[in-house]
């Protein structure tokens, strides 16, 4: 067999052009870390700013409290369903905190806490899960797209928002979220490729929590990592410890900066774990051992930041109590907001579908109104 040297040379040149080096390959496979599981700074890492990290910690506590509160609300029948991000709070906080006001976030059903971290009132976010309407916040006001349930579909919308921003000369960056399972969908491939080809200012942020409902990561991909897939599209892929808030903020922050500087998209994979069942309706004991969950508990994203901050003297009992009290206040507001009786207006079914309702919808709306009036009478 003869080896075609010309081709090899071309390939090397192509790799060179897309900037692939051994270091970048490593970045796509070995998770970046700043704080280890015991809350100590890893060797050679520069220390995060303690005040900024306390603020990050505050957001982590809020995210955890929100997950717990939503879990309670679903048990009380106040929410139809809740996909918890417990264990993934560092991802939830980091992806929101690296964005500027004008940037966009494209979340999924699991990212309630990320949307709240972006500044949207959790009660508005929960409109979907309490069954009042499909999206309870104004995407334009907050620059947060509606939570996407059809997997990976939102990634293409994210690319579109980013490309439009470039065409209009705006310096917007778009953070597009999905799970490990969603990377198997065709739309994931299309979005990555479009973004790379158009050098769109997008950060694809995959929260690899190891499961898609019951299906483990090994059934989604046998690639060296999910971030490694980026190489095939000609964009950088970076793997990061998904339970390490400062590492996430660093990696995602750099990806956002690259995008803003016109250098195109990045695929970031967070190595994390879904501590709870897929949703309250799921029973994870059918497909994973408790031991596996137990193993991840010490890697808790809150614990390691708290340990670190306490060790460097940036967090004492007073401050911790203030943070907890503020989180309790938020939780009380969520309870009150979600618990408040709302009257969903049936006629709203007809009001938003077209900017001008079709004659048929006008007729159907009138028929429903007549029915309701009859019921009242």
């Amino acid at each position: 067999m003869t080896v075609n040297l010309g081709n090899i040379r071309d390939n090397c040149k192509a790799m060179w052009r897309c900037g692939l080096s051994a270091g970048q390959l490593k970045a796509a496979i070995t998770p970046a870390r700043l704080l280890d599981e015991t809350g100590r700074l890893v060797r050679g890492a520069s220390a995060p700013d303690p005040e900024a990290l306390v603020e990050g910690y505050r957001k982590l506590v809020f995210a955890r409290r929100l997950n717990e509160q939503c879990g309670a609300l679903v048990r009380q029948g106040r929410l139809a369903v809740y996909p918890s991000s417990r264990g993934q709070e560092a991802c939830q906080v980091a992806c929101a905190s690296v964005l500027a006001d004008g940037d966009w976030l494209f979340p999924t059903y699991r990212d309630t806490a990320a949307i709240a971290a972006r500044g949207v009132d959790p009660v508005e976010v929960l409109t979907l899960l309490r069954g009042d309407w499909h999206c309870g916040y104004d995407p334009n006001e907050h620059k947060v797209a509606p939570q996407a349930t059809p997997l990976a579909t939102q990634l293409l919308h994210a690319v579109g928002v980013a490309h439009a921003a470039r065409l209009k000369g705006e310096d917007t960056v778009v953070m597009a979220l999905c799970g490990d399972g969603a990377t198997s969908e065709g739309d994931f491939h299309e979005a990555c490729n479009f973004a790379a080809v158009f050098r769109a200012p997008v950060v694809f942020f995959v929260q690899n929590n190891k499961y898609a409902i019951s299906v483990p990561l090994a059934r989604q991909s046998v690639a060296p990592s999910l971030a490694a897939k980026a190489i095939g599209y000609g964009m950088p892929g970076v793997r990061v410890d998904g339970n390490d808030l400062p590492a996430l903020e660093k990696v995602l922050g750099e990806a956002v900066a690259r995008a803003r500087a016109g250098e195109g998209p990045t695929l970031v994979e967070a190595d994390t774990y879904r501590i709870e069942s897929h949703t309250n309706a799921d029973d994870a004991s059918r497909y994973r051992a408790d031991d596996e969950v137990t193993e991840w508990l010490p890697r808790d994203p809150l614990l390691r930041v708290r340990t670190y901050l306490t060790a460097v003297g940036a967090l004492d009992d007073d401050r911790e109590q203030q943070i907890t009290a503020a989180a309790e206040e938020m939780a009380a507001a969520v309870r009150a907001g979600v618990g408040a009786e709302t009257v969903a207006d049936p006629e709203e079914l007809f009001t938003h579908l077209y900017s001008t309702p079709t004659p048929q919808l006008v007729e159907q709306r009138a028929a429903l109104r007549a029915e309701l009036e009859l019921e009242e009478a």
Binding site: I213, Y287, L349
Partner: protein
């Protein structure tokens, strides 16, 4: 001796189990169907019983699932694939419309695709968006697909067995609100083949025509009408494609009045097709225009509003009231 009681999920599970056991070429795959047994537990225990070669999870990609099923069917297997929910079948739409439905025709019958695409469908379970679509019209509108929608648990068993045995691709629509309701199912009693509608209730005054999740609603309406002195018959179509014109028209000719009941939005719907067919074939027997009672022409509502959307007993009886009874008097 009465037959054992089974939920629809259990009846479908039994059909899959019997088909896998009887025919080595039957394979079941999809998302969460193996270890978990499906999000509705329809495939519960099958992976454990028959192993990874017969029942397996795929990567999370519906187009991939259906596309791979096409290839497996081309190579002699009978894939039964699960789409997790109605709206999550849409990524597979291209494979279904451009290949599953057309390959037999494209190859002048040289390639047959004995594929079953199982889809938990329709609403009534308080599901959030994308979990309650009635998508039957998309499939029924696509020539080449057989479209089946059982309304009873016995039919779910029998029709699924028939679907798996069929040489042609079948879209098998499972009304998910029926999954956990128990009924007697005697699997040894053969059910009529695909393509045959049945009258679930005989009536003299008017005929309600329904399929899938709307059949029990139509039966409840007939029950209610009987207390008000009106005798309504109920037809369960069982399959949308092939459509059983004969049974439907025979019943409608007896009563001269018909109301079609379906959950999907009415515009350009299966209900519209039924009304048109009945109108064309029974014109001279009809005392009144055929009415449709359907969902509104809006996306499936959020949980708190779904009861306003779903066609219920009152709307059916209101429609029956408009069938020009005074002219008959």
């Amino acid at each position: 001796m009465s037959a054992p009681k089974m939920t629809m999920a259990q009846a479908i599970n039994a059909a899959l189990r019997d088909a896998i056991a009887e025919d080595d070429s039957v394979v079941v795959f999809g998302e969460d169907v193996a270890q978990l047994g499906g999000v509705f537990r329809v495939t519960d225990g099958l992976h454990q019983e028959f192993g990874e070669g017969r029942v397996f999870d795929t990567p999370l990609a519906e187009s991939g699932i259906v596309g791979m099923a096409v290839g497996m069917a081309m190579n002699g297997m009978r894939p039964v694939v699960e789409m997790q929910f109605d709206a999550f079948a849409y990524p597979a739409f291209e494979q279904i419309v451009s290949h599953v439905a057309k390959l037999g025709n494209r190859t002048r019958g040289k390639v047959r695709l004995p594929i079953v695409i199982r889809i938990p469908y329709a609403g009534g379970i308080g599901g959030v968006e994308h979990h309650c679509d009635s998508s039957e019209a998309y499939y029924a509108h696509t020539p080449g697909l057989t479209v089946v929608a059982p309304a009873t648990n016995a039919d779910a068993y029998g029709l699924l067995r028939a679907a798996i045995a069929s040489p042609d691709p079948v879209v098998f629509l499972e009304p998910k609100k029926h999954y956990f309701a128990k009924e007697e199912v005697d699997v040894s009693v053969p059910v009529p083949p695909i393509g045959r509608a049945v009258a679930r209730r005989q009536g003299k005054d008017a005929t309600l025509i329904a399929y899938g999740p709307s059949v029990p609603v139509a039966l409840a309406a007939a029950e209610q009408a009987a207390t008000e002195g009106r005798d309504l018959g109920v037809i369960d179509l069982r399959s949308i494609v092939p459509f059983d014109d004969d049974t439907v028209c025979a019943e409608v000719r007896k009563t001269g009045r018909a109301v079609v009941v379906a959950e999907a939005p009415g515009f350009a719907s299966v209900a519209s097709e039924i009304a048109a067919r009945v109108g064309e074939r029974c014109f001279h027997h009809l005392e009144a225009p055929v009415r449709r009672v359907t969902g509104f022409d809006v996306p499936y509502p959020p949980p708190k509003l779904e009861h306003h959307f779903l066609p219920g007993v009152d709307r059916i009886l209101d429609a029956v009231d408009t069938l020009q009874w005074e002219d008959a008097a």
